[in-house]
Symmetry: C2
Subunit: 108 residues, 2 copies
């Protein structure tokens, strides 16, 4: 029987691949709802363009772990991520300072 639990520190830094096989980046952190104890969304740190990184929200249930690759797979592409909501390295936006889950995360 496959187990259903995963340690938080095994999720962070794991690579994420898109629908077309392109590496999107890696999981930077998970955003947890303190009250309900649920994962609101994951934040993917994309590979840098000219040395900068985008930090993109994606729903936890949009990520599937591929044991053979030891990486997450999702139906989102890099173009999708780039067209969607994100924060840049230098943004002062505090991912933890919001009263609701990110309204625009990828839901695929």
């Amino acid at each position: 029987m496959p187990h259903t639990l995963v340690p938080s520190d095994r999720v962070e830094r794991v690579s994420v691949y898109g629908r077309d096989g392109t590496k999107l980046g890696s999981i930077e952190r998970l955003m947890l709802d303190k009250v309900s104890g649920t994962v609101a969304y994951a934040v993917i740190k994309t590979g840098g363009l000219l040395g900068s990184h985008h930090h993109c929200p994606i729903r936890w249930d949009a990520l599937r772990f591929d044991p053979a690759r030891q990486a997450y797979q999702t139906d989102v592409t890099l173009d999708d991520l780039r067209a969607g909501p994100s924060e840049l390295d230098d943004d002062t936006f505090d991912w933890g300072d919001r009263s609701q889950p990110h309204p625009h995360y990828w839901t695929v």
Copy 2:
């Protein structure tokens, strides 16, 4: 309005204090249910006795964050933790390899 989200990497390594004010240890990791996207429990790494550490499961909702102290507070004591279920450093037990949440975590 207080925000309700917290980043996973800000939870890990945060100190945990017991009912009587004693430091129990720090949060080592969270165990997440992959399917439901919920935090099954946290694992507290206790301060070492003779250099060894115990790794004790505790329910997420048994932990309250104290902003003034920048630490978690719980009603469990160190004696409670020591009397309860735990794993030692050298145990080969895989915290991620279980089909159900830990059956004996502290529920206070």
